[in-house]
């Protein structure tokens, strides 16, 4: 990305904040300790910082002065010790110039400038923080308890600047051409990673072995995984991060995993495989239904369509199918309105994706994923939908329906009398060892409708999946 690109983005931000006064502050990340303080996790810069400045180094901050239009980047130049330990870094002033910023100053001057603005009674616009380091830093500068600077629930952080959040969301929700190219690259790498994983599926192997093999691709050609890999025979547990089990015959293996490219854009795909290469009849019935839901949603996606309506259409189709299979009884639309779909799919159809897998989640799901005046449903499933907005070209969203048989949820709902008469709990209970199926693609909203990111789609139709597992032509593809 060029200096001009970053300047242009900040210029647009200034213009979206017209009418506001005071200063806008941005804080890049610090290293994040894993074991002891100096042994940090792999370095990851803050996403919004990357979007507006691109400088991929720890301990940077910036101030945009809304009244004077002045922009300043703050960080410390390296001393000899830093050079010995981590190698030379260009001067802060050069890095600032690469981001199109003419002024730079030491890191400590950032704190002084923020304190001076506070003391002068100027408005300090800041975003909700994502990391504890920034909470401590800003808490100290603003005189606020650090824990109050994180988002709280789906509403964002009440102390953060809503105009700033709205402006950043408006910009980052619509990906420009550069971003789309980078997202395509990430999706391509995601394809590669999932293909490697699929090839590793053999009865008796420990799940963790496959995780290592697939993350190899993410690390060899990208920054790493865009979120902790979900690879489990317990697909009914959404964020199952245990990989200790060996693959057993007759099970389903759900793999929900994404790559973060070297440019820090994400991919996020889910596929569900029969461990032995062939679906059982029972598995295929449910799989086919999830597959249809994925296709249905994709075919609906186009500018102007509300993504919550795609979720509802998926719910109706899912209930229609589950009705034919004898799990539920009644009119699918009525059942959907009652929230019965949520018993099978207690999550939303998808979310925004970009520099974050759940793009800008910390800024408050309601501000990010809901249009003004659009309210969040109270229904199980639909109520968790992260992206409900009317779609516009440049949105990048995931399409990820699923069906799960979650013993704890089933027994709770049965106890509570949920869907009495409509839900066939005795049949459901015979599926308690089934697991879960989710099928997820990354989709770009275009002027004409939609296209899936990347040049190749991971096999998804049940026949194609079996074919790929048994006779994998892609073996010779890379």
């Amino acid at each position: 990305m060029t200096a001009g690109k970053y300047s242009e983005r900040r210029k647009r931000l200034f213009s979206l904040l017209q009418g506001e006064s005071g200063i806008v502050i941005f804080t890049g990340n610090a290293e994040s300790p894993a074991q002891y303080f100096e042994n940090a996790y792999k370095w990851r810069q803050d996403s919004t910082w990357l979007y507006f400045f691109g400088i991929d180094e720890p301990l940077f901050a910036a101030i945009l002065d809304l009244d004077s239009g002045e922009e300043t980047v703050y960080a410390d130049d390296y001393g000899l010790d830093d050079i010995i330990w981590t190698g030379p870094m260009p001067a802060v002033s050069s890095l600032a110039a690469e981001a199109g910023v003419g002024n730079s100053a030491p890191y400590a001057a950032f704190g002084e400038a923020v304190k001076a603005a506070v003391a002068a009674g100027r408005k300090v616009h800041f975003l909700p923080v994502s990391r504890y380091y920034n909470a401590i830093l800003l808490g100290g500068l603003l005189g606020v308890e650090p824990s109050k600077l994180f988002r709280s629930g789906k509403k964002g952080c009440p102390l953060a600047s809503e105009p700033l959040v709205r402006a950043v969301v408006k910009m980052r929700l619509v990906k420009d051409e550069d971003e789309i190219r980078l997202l395509d690259e990430a999706a391509e790498l995601g394809w590669r990673m999932h293909t490697k994983a699929r090839r590793g599926i053999h009865i008796g192997r420990v799940e963790q072995e496959i995780v290592g093999e697939m993350e190899n691709e993410a690390l060899s050609f990208g920054w790493g995984v865009s979120f902790p890999t979900i690879l489990t025979q317990h697909g009914e547990i959404f964020h199952c991060h245990s990989h200790a089990a060996a693959l057993e015959p007759g099970r389903l293996l759900l793999i929900d995993a994404g790559v973060e490219s070297n440019s820090h854009y994400a991919s996020d795909h889910t596929r569900t495989y029969p461990t032995g290469g062939r679906f059982t009849l029972k598995q295929r019935e449910i799989y086919q239904l999830v597959y249809e839901c994925n296709e249905l949603a994709f075919n609906m996606i186009k500018p102007g369509v509300k993504y919550c309506d795609c979720h509802t259409a998926v719910s109706v189709h899912l209930l229609d199918g589950l009705g034919r299979l004898g799990f539920v009884k009644g009119d699918p639309e009525e059942l959907a309105a009652m929230g019965v779909a949520g018993l099978f799919m207690p999550h939303g159809l998808g979310h925004n994706m970009g520099l974050d897998v759940h793009d800008m989640e910390d800024y408050g799901e309601d501000l990010v994923g809901y249009d003004d005046g659009q309210s969040r449903s109270a229904l199980l499933g639909l109520g968790s939908l992260r992206m409900a907005r009317a779609l516009v070209p440049g949105n990048v969203i995931t399409d990820e329906p699923g069906i799960y048989f979650i013993p704890a949820l089933i027994s709770r709902m049965k106890e509570e009398g949920f869907g009495k008469g409509a839900v066939n709990y005795s049949k459901l209970e015979t599926y308690c060892d089934f697991g879960g199926i989710r099928l997820e693609d990354d989709v770009l909203v275009t002027e004409a409708g939609a296209r899936r990111l990347g040049s190749r789609r991971l096999p998804i139709a049940p026949d194609d999946v079996e074919e790929a597992m048994i006779n994998d032509e892609t073996l010779w593809d890379f």
Copy 2:
């Protein structure tokens, strides 16, 4: 590890703290956000928490009451939402029982108990914190600014309990049989990872590709890497984490990388390879010298020997060799006393290793690595030594001499007139594109002397390295 093992360790801790009163508090880690708050880095528990309790879940804490002898574990049981998202977790009371602790209470009760102890004027013993989350938590409970709870420099954290730090250090520095077995396993896996890396070295490949391949092993069979992998043709930069370069002919590739096993014990090995499979004469001269230093230190290691004396012996041998090669002039012992070795090896010979790669570094290097009354040298190199103590059986240390040609250091030292007459700066300057060599093994101090961890040693003698790179028999080993 059995419940009895953890109970025994805490019992020993109580006995080491005899004479102290008040409460000892331990805080496990929280998840650590990578992008947005909910998208955390791979979960890693606090090492001392693992040592005394073993419970590998986020948001646990414990109090040991030094006056009553009571032990309590604090954490929250899972609700339905947690079960849907992350799967069932055993009850906190069961997890506490597995750690040999009879009492458990909700997480919030930990804060209340600490506040009550503070209010009652009781002494609260705590360790320096490693992560920002714990700094915010304890800062709030103890009424201290969070940034004051980290170690500061090599002295540890002045607010932390020195008796507690001393007791924990005393225990964790000497590994028991269970720990030695787990460290051997980690070293075995480290061998495997480095072997995979060595095989991937071919001119033209991008460093990052090899990083991905080697970390595959760490992820497939362990928790992951024990610290961010250093794999670079710029070995003179100690913590070079850029892997963007392609392998060039005639260079040296330094790989310093470790595995963290599934039980969270570390390995840490360094090897330096000629990118094309054969050392140049110039490379071989320096390599041979580093190799001799590694062997020399290992052969000195036995109970009673001070590890700082091993560092000094290495410095003398290194200067003797560098004298023969024309880099320095004068009596090696005198040159070592002047700190000339530090110009070539500005780091210490090694560090303690266990659950942390630099074991307990946050508790203060001086308390961890120096015996009472033993003071830290001011010399470049020796002054950075993390482990200087008289060795005892059960210590696990690294043996990692190196020689580097660091342009920024060389020109600074020349400017300052350092080693004038003794250092041949004009020759040194012709090595500014050489890079650096480090050779590191993990060593257990035994009753009889020492042994290297793991069953196999990575090839290290120059002929063996070339042989392994060209005709790799280990290819068929796993």
